[in-house]
Symmetry: C2
Subunit: 356 residues, 2 copies
């Protein structure tokens, strides 16, 4: 870990010219006053923003980059155009070079993942990285992965996700043996994907010290917090994540409409306003802003592109947590230990004589 | 259609000995006083329940069945044990024999689908049936399918789901040309499943008169009501459905906790109670209770097993709507028309001489 803890910030990634980045860093610095920041992007623009945020200016150095990866660029295009010289690339590269402990970007997810894979490389024994989200539940929080890095996953990849998610739960929640569930469907006539079943068998058989395998969970278990880590492949994980966000917005709209209906409802709302503030905070998607890229040789955090200073500050908090807990080394150790147990070296067999 | 409209009711399917069935029929009969009911199940038990519901008794005939399919039975087991003589089988069979216009069961989904396929058979040109759910949105309601009949679907099957879902939207919502979207993930580095992309191309190319193809939608579009029909394969559809239900429950728990926190919040709640009643109604999963089996030669409606009389009445309402609108014939016609357009007969090619 760099000393003091240092984050590489892509100061250009995000909607609305990423104007939330510097104000978000200001909020995060109040909570983590000792961290250092390296801001990558348009030097003139960043300096103008820093002029209004003395705290951020004092904690930061600025590295000018000519190129900004756009939110709509295809990953291949972004890699071609933004390699070496874009703010996104340089922020990731700072992690690789050991100048920073983690990179944070609110830019184009596809481009960020493509560049992160290119620069940091996937860990030995991991075939595919995953994006992990922190999911608010009625009990607290869970980790859900993969929420969209790759479509489909075989049994071994799901098991790797389980091991990585458990390591993250140890780091973020401080649980020694996080409970891990595999997302499946409970409809009886279809007994679930073959890969999910096989992953369950593998997790049960391997009986890892760092996680407790709970079994299958369903979509409804996500909000219930039935387990600490929910594992699924990226298509259904992304759909679950977006569906939950959409449902929360939908209910908030119902609530607003219900309250607007009558003067008594509005009066009641005013009287109960502290309760509604608490509810809004619980439902606030900014509190859980930040997708963690797992399975790479370095820590990259993705913030929502359309976030605000509060939301960006949450993503920065998460990056600080991940860096402090040395998540990358923990995962490398756990994955190494798992593969050592689960994949025994084939015993050399004497070749038989062809005629016997 | 039977005259008067007749429903076959599996009076034994559901949790808690299906005690909600007869009271639920009582509620549904107020809204549809002319319908006839055939109740399949334990004759003695049903008669005792009917004794308390004169309205249902007057509208019903009872067919005694010795066997009840249990909620935990595997479909294969249920088929073996419950074939011909279970209440579930007999209710479906009444549809096949033209004695009833639709069957309603709150029993084991897997067994119900297996028996429905066995008895009614899948429509010509449909490879796989789907379960469609009515999804409440901020704009009203949408149809989402498949929510769990089968895992995975190729492009042609997704297109068939689109055609069936559009026919159902015409019938339920009275829209001439429902907007149809394919559920996909918006993360840029993965451009979505190959099958989803190909289904999109097929829908765009075929330009069907009965539906307007909107393009891809994401999980967040479900609650938004972006389209009238959302098409996906059963694994992700089931996960989306359960995740949305779970999120709604989670937010309701947050709301209760927020209101319990202070006396002022409770006072405000009382004053705004009509608003909260409206909200609860909007969020009430019983209002949209009922999965419609599409793609079979007959109409079967699945109610939640753990529902109550109100919820079972909603499933019965849905069965009445589906039967009145002749959904099965509509779908057969639309699927026939689609396959006639979309799958041109291969042109016979003269075999070439081997040497040329």
């Amino acid at each position: 870990m760099a000393n003091p803890l240092t984050l590489a910030i892509d100061a250009m990634g995000g909607d609305n010219e990423a104007a939330f980045v510097v104000p978000g860093l200001d909020i995060a610095l109040v909570r983590n006053p000792d961290m250092r920041l390296i801001l990558f992007g348009d030097g003139g623009l960043i300096e103008r923003r820093l002029a209004q945020h003395a705290r951020v200016r004092a904690a930061s150095s600025v590295v000018h980059c000519d190129i900004t990866v756009s939110m709509r660029e295809k990953p291949s295009e972004a890699l071609r155009r933004g390699r070496r010289s874009s703010s996104m690339w340089r922020a990731i590269e700072a992690v690789k070079l050991g100048e920073a402990d983690a990179a944070v970007s609110a830019g184009n997810t596809g481009a960020l993942m493509a560049m992160a894979k290119f620069v940091l490389k996937t860990m030995a024994q991991i075939e595919r990285p995953a994006i992990a989200a922190i999911w608010p539940t009625v009990r607290g929080e869970s980790i859900v992965l993969d929420v969209g890095a790759t479509i489909g996953a075989d049994a071994q990849q799901l098991v790797d996700f389980a091991v990585m998610g458990a390591a993250m739960a140890q780091a973020v929640f401080g649980i020694t043996r996080p409970r891990v569930g595999l997302l499946n469907i409970g409809v009886e006539e279809v007994k679930g994907l073959e890969e999910v079943r096989r992953a369950g068998q593998m997790l049960r058989a391997s009986d890892l010290p760092g996680l407790e395998y709970h079994g299958f969970v369903e979509g409804a278990d996500l909000g219930r917090g039935t387990v600490d880590v929910v594992v699924t492949e990226g298509f259904s994980g992304n759909i679950a994540l977006k569906t939950a966000e959409g449902t929360a917005k939908q209910i908030a709209a119902y609530l607003r409409a219900a309250i607007a209906r009558s003067i008594w409802a509005r009066i009641g709302y005013v009287i109960a306003s502290s309760a509604f503030r608490a509810l809004r905070e619980k439902m606030d998607p900014r509190r859980a802003n930040g997708g963690v890229f797992l399975g790479l040789n370095g820590m990259v955090i993705k913030s929502h592109g359309g976030t605000d200073p509060q939301g960006f500050a949450s993503a920065v908090d998460l990056a600080v947590d991940m860096a402090r807990s040395n998540l990358v080394s923990r995962i490398a150790a756990d994955i190494g230990a798992f593969h050592a147990v689960a994949v025994p070296t084939p015993v050399a067999v004497e070749p038989k004589a062809a005629a016997s």
